[in-house]
Symmetry: C2
Subunit: 456 residues, 2 copies
Amino acid sequence: MAGVRVAFIGAGSAVFAMDMVRDLCLTAGLGGSSVTLMDIDKERLDAVHSMATRYAAQVGSKIRFRKTAKRGEALKDSDFVIDSVLVGGHYEQEAVRTVGEKHGYYRGVEAVEFNMVSDYYTTFGGYHQLKFFVDLARDMEDLCPNAWLIDVANPECEAGTLLTRRSKIKVVGYCHGYKEYRDICATLGIDPAKADFQVAGFNHNIWLTRLGYDGRDCYPLIDEWIRRDAEKYWNSHVSEEIFDVQMSRAAADMYNLFGLFPVGDTVRSGSWKYHYDLKTKKYWYGRFGGPDSEIGWQRYLKELDASTNTVMGLAQSSPSTLIQRIPPRMSDEDVVQFIDSVVNDKGERFVLDVRNDALIPGLSDDVVVEVPVRVDRKGVHKESIEKIPRRLVDMALIPRQVRLEMAMEAFLHGDRDVLLEVLFRDPRTRSEKQAREVLDEILDLPFNKDAKKHYT
Amino acid sequence: MAGVRVAFIGAGSAVFAMDMVRDLCLTAGLGGSSVTLMDIDKERLDAVHSMATRYAAQVGSKIRFRKTAKRGEALKDSDFVIDSVLVGGHYEQEAVRTVGEKHGYYRGVEAVEFNMVSDYYTTFGGYHQLKFFVDLARDMEDLCPNAWLIDVANPECEAGTLLTRRSKIKVVGYCHGYKEYRDICATLGIDPAKADFQVAGFNHNIWLTRLGYDGRDCYPLIDEWIRRDAEKYWNSHVSEEIFDVQMSRAAADMYNLFGLFPVGDTVRSGSWKYHYDLKTKKYWYGRFGGPDSEIGWQRYLKELDASTNTVMGLAQSSPSTLIQRIPPRMSDEDVVQFIDSVVNDKGERFVLDVRNDALIPGLSDDVVVEVPVRVDRKGVHKESIEKIPRRLVDMALIPRQVRLEMAMEAFLHGDRDVLLEVLFRDPRTRSEKQAREVLDEILDLPFNKDAKKHYT
């Protein structure tokens, strides 16, 4: 097979890159393909490239890895573009958060109802990221107009919607969060591999619309677990894993209110009820207060740094260490499998972010929802969603859509008044003055010069 | 002409009843009709009935006025039902507000974004009112299944939606607030009678989708007024009329943000930006802080009491006083004209609350919107809405729809958790404890025994 051309933008995201490299090398159907790693961080790029070429050699893959710091060079004539760029990295996000906290916004101005995930910056800190998506899409229209963009970078909900509205390129978003349905299965004592599951909603706001096993509905098992075992689990379950919140009190509480069980990152958000302060977070999410508390998030950033350093170290490691640290088996990410399914017409099932187009009633057609799809040579085929309670749409999804639309309005029109309006609707805002001051100070951050100009 | 049968439920609403009596007596096309005044307040009912029969005699009307304290008696075989009932009256509303303020909710728990109108109780204080609508509709299905219900009682948005979903009776909501477009015209120096206007949105959340005069768009005149005259107007305009906020700073600010000018009671709500405290309200609405501040609302309640007493006094007044106080000309309410337009197939234009059915894109089909309609023997014919910015739908109408749906969910399922969730989304809630305490205390109010039982 001739292979395809893949551009990997943001390949310096070392931990994620390791998984991409591994999957690309191990996917027989993509043999002969060429992959261009692109990043503006030369040191990271060199390390990932070195790791990739040596790993390919080691496992006998025919994938060719190139590297470049120039986006255009990577994109040119690509068939697939993987994007994992976080413009400004976590550093800028933390700087924006610090300003927010100074003005009375616990966990920062972006940490709001239905959007508590700490690196999901849709609005005030989202300018560079959204701008990047638009620029990337425009470049793709020039250099590889028929390529698929696979976006793994946040905010996928806003990014995907923006791109489906403003560009003709083919785009899907991918987030591995949905795989936490397996944690639900494990808790219930059923084999995730044999479970018949379906989720639907927005990215980081998805809900278990079906869980079946052996032809039977498993929701009664969830009910039984909550009735019989949950309280004990919440009181005794102590995990070192900060993201281990799938079966938390918050999840059960959301299920009680909305009628479907929340899946993956969904659990991290929900209502303000879970997020007033650290004490509240600890009650609902366990001892770290979940990954998005001041404790959880600092741990995550540290862990991410450590993992990144480990991967960077692999650049010069011995072949045996390399294989030991990256065992030749597929990662848990669906990105390369998506490519394989398109290229080789495999019709595999994934959960992806795609345009709604009436799939979830009550939401706008032109917003990007996260739903199961089949993927083949012809593209992405959405599954129909069988059970989605109106209450959940009205009370959990539509409010998230409102936030998405406000982010779109602010960004697309460079409208500072919309940014302020977002703050006026924030429970932590006590006065117009407070809103204006926090916004001014965020836009006065050194890296925000262009954002400030944009939002005049 | 044989005339029709009209049931007026809540006829003890004396001030409004005076207008209904006047219009019924003066509408030639309804001569020979019979009107049954119904109220559980015998004193008020007797006074209004006395006033009505004497007024009819005085102006030579052939309308027959009956009275009854039994709803069924009034409804039986009616062709039209006018409902102006506020269950529990303003007293109960103020009691609920007092509890809210005690727990840190300025102007009470019902006073929230896009719903600051002080007697518009959708949720916590809305139980009796919504229950009343359901009971009334059920009685109508039995006793006058083909009658039109004309609802003038708040919350029209929730009431209308509830009834279109839960009953087969024909229902329209009517609110005179839209007529404030005339105040906009007057400010711009154009004759309201000749203006070509259109409004659309939800009750108390309607927007000027068109203002034309002599074939020209008048929005540029609004822009010019804001640029040239508004600041002076805001600084010097001192009105004794607490509802005189159509041209307030808040209205201009909403127009700036959403792209259309707000009309009537719409101006009273908007974002929290205008409602943090009395000082803020005064800046945006003038010296009383608008009708919904603690000053404005107390004045309104006093004025209402005084007007009610005046009308009650008319029950025993001399014929000449009666005619002097109720001059024989049509009131400014459209209710009787609506009846006339149906009965006599007149095709007149009104602004009414009717099912959306895709008229305003982005909103659910089965919510009740406030839009211009033509009314004839066949019923209500909606006008198409030509210009409604997506931003306005996404940022002002959909958030109001979310609140409406939460009110529906809470009421229809008797779900206390939804009531709590409404509070968790309230900016004034600081903790779960605060939310639970204020709700408990509201439901413990003596008149809320059945509400407490409903929300278990």
